[in-house]
């Protein structure tokens, strides 16, 4: 997959080897209500592929919002890329957000921009020179099979096409962590499999991927994936994925 060279100069120091995400006793409360997430403690290892499952209202989206820095927890510690992001000054967060790609169920494309310009947005936000944008964007659109739809507005694209544009946008800046919240919720089963294969391909290039989904069929589509289950804001660990190192790594005696 063609990917854009990362602007190392604008990034924080390279993360030390270890988990890319670490939660310690994290709780999240909206306003004065009950805790939406309680006592979450887990690690995601760099390069892992995770499915986040659980019933509606379990707290999946809230957990992902913590991961893509849309929220700070009410309590507990979160380390992302080796740094404590709970107490991190707000001014440093944009630099961290540029290392995370996000895909939403409802796509969230900018409606007035073409597919090309939507995919180019992260590069423009990151300050990539305009002359260096066309090639990677076109390559990324080709990767998601939308070369011929580059100039189309989101309203003229199908759900699957919109989600592929959203995925291209999420990964064009080569994020270290890709967070997808029900990315297959608005597409047909065939397209859902294609999207998951795109995530798998990205994961094989080193990006840590976490996908929230209700669709149990998808869980088998990535054999190496591990599962995180949330229920009423608390964590279940059916595959042992969240232990560090995970059970299957221990069993295999090395990294995946």
């Amino acid at each position: 997959m063609p990917l854009v060279a990362r602007d190392e100069g604008s990034r924080p120091p390279v993360t030390a080897p270890g988990p890319i995400v670490r939660f310690d006793n994290v709780g999240l409360r909206y306003g004065t209500g009950a805790e939406t997430l309680s006592d979450l403690s887990f690690s995601l290892r760099t390069g892992g592929f995770y499915f986040l499952t659980g019933p509606s209202g379990a707290g999946k989206t809230s957990l992902l919002k913590l991961l893509y820095l849309a929220l700070r927890p009410s309590r507990g510690l979160i380390r992302l890329f080796g740094e404590d992001i709970v107490t991190m000054p707000r001014g440093r967060l944009p630099g961290f957000r540029r290392r995370i790609g996000v895909v939403f169920q409802e796509f969230r494309l900018v409606p007035h921009l073409s597919a090309f310009d939507n995919v180019a947005l992260p590069l423009r936000v990151a300050g990539v020179d305009e002359r260096d944008i066309a090639t990677p964007v076109n390559e990324m659109l080709a990767w998601v099979g939308l070369s011929d739809r580059a100039s189309a507005r989101p309203a003229t694209l199908s759900g699957g096409e919109q989600q592929r544009v959203a995925i291209a946008r999420a990964v064009i800046a080569r994020p270290e962590l890709l967070v997808a919240d029900e990315p297959t919720g608005n597409v047909d089963p065939e397209m859902a499999k294609r999207l998951i294969h795109l995530f798998d391909a990205l994961n094989k290039l080193g990006t840590t991927v976490i996908v929230a989904t209700h669709d149990l069929h998808l869980l088998t589509s990535v054999p190496s994936a591990e599962m995180i289950r949330l229920d009423r804001g608390q964590l279940a660990d059916p595959t042992g994925a969240l232990r560090n190192p995970p059970r299957k790594v221990e069993a295999a005696g090395g990294a995946r």
């Binding site: 944009p94 957000r97 900018v110 992260p122 423009r124």
Partner: protein, 298 residues
């Protein structure tokens, strides 16, 4: 952050498709700038007029030789003028010529009236130098010694209230300008908030991509400032046109008093710069408003 990152919003104006001039804001700004320019012009014109009047006659006294006998009146006028020429604190003595007196009386008595046939007082304009007004009582006594029936009228006696009126009008104009600036700032705040609401989803996406508050604010403030600049130029241009037309009408009246309240050259420059000052104000207000709103996001 690279230069490209600083400018990404400007390059991609399509992010926010609401075109310039599509909303009411530029036209509201045009109306406010029109009123601001008129108020500013009034204030500047009054200030210049007050300064001019003060400089011309602020230190002037007028001696009236009230004497029915024309020969005696003329002799006393000459003597008083001669005395005043030598008096300390006096910088200029000018007996008002008979033809000027005729011109002064003409509106009331008609062109056929001749001062020679009327017991009109002789007038002497006296300009006082620094400290001259402090010596006015002595001067008055000296005049009355030469011409017992003479009266010394201090222009300041009637100019004072007039100057006070001009000062009050200047403050009123300044207050109106201040109100208009506040109203412009409030309009910009409303426009910025409206834009933030309209484009909330796009802003959230940019935010999650790692766009900084400054990057996002820059896109909005640039657009708002350009709208204000356009509205400001329209409003100020109309105001200048109106002022030119009014100036022409005043000149046609030929009133010295009204004519003295003419706009000085620098006032025109100030009026021409008002739209740009408005744009800078809008830029700053929009920046603060947007950054405060974005600051509420994580």
């Amino acid at each position: 952050m690279t230069a490209a990152a600083r400018d990404f919003g400007a390059r991609d104006g399509r992010l926010f498709p609401e075109g310039r001039l599509s909303g009411p804001m530029p036209w509201v700004i045009a109306i406010m700038m029109f009123l601001t320019a008129l108020a500013a012009a009034t204030g500047l014109g009054l200030a210049a007029g007050a300064e001019r009047i003060e400089g011309q006659i602020g230190n002037r006294v007028t001696v009236q030789i009230v004497e029915a006998n024309p020969e005696l009146r003329d002799r006393q006028a000459v003597a008083v003028a001669a005395m005043l020429e030598r008096a300390e604190g006096v910088t200029r003595v000018r007996p008002v010529p008979a033809d000027e007196l005729d011109a002064l009386l003409e509106p009331w008595l008609g062109a056929s009236a001749a001062t020679a046939e009327l017991p009109v007082p002789a007038l002497i304009d006296v300009d006082l130098g620094a400290g001259g007004r402090a010596r006015l009582p002595q001067l008055r006594a000296a005049v009355q010694e030469v011409a017992p029936a003479a009266m010394v009228s201090d222009v300041a006696d009637w100019l004072g209230p007039f100057s006070g009126l001009l000062a009050s009008l200047q403050w009123l104009a300044a207050g109106l300008v201040a109100l208009m600036i506040a109203a412009t700032a409030a309009t910009v705040v409303l426009a910025a908030r409206s834009s933030l609401n309209t484009h909330g989803q796009t802003i959230e996406i940019l935010h999650l991509m790692g766009a900084t508050d400054q990057q996002i604010a820059r896109m909005f403030q640039r657009r708002i400032a350009l709208d204000v600049l356009f509205g400001g130029i329209v409003g100020a241009a109309l105001a200048i046109l109106v002022l030119v037309l009014i100036g022409g009408r005043v000149a046609a009246i030929g009133s010295e008093l009204l004519g003295s309240i003419a706009l000085p050259g620098h006032a025109w420059v100030v009026l021409a710069l008002l739209p740009f000052a408005g744009a800078v104000l809008a830029l700053l207000v929009a920046r603060v408003t947007i950054q405060r709103a974005l600051g509420r996001l994580l």
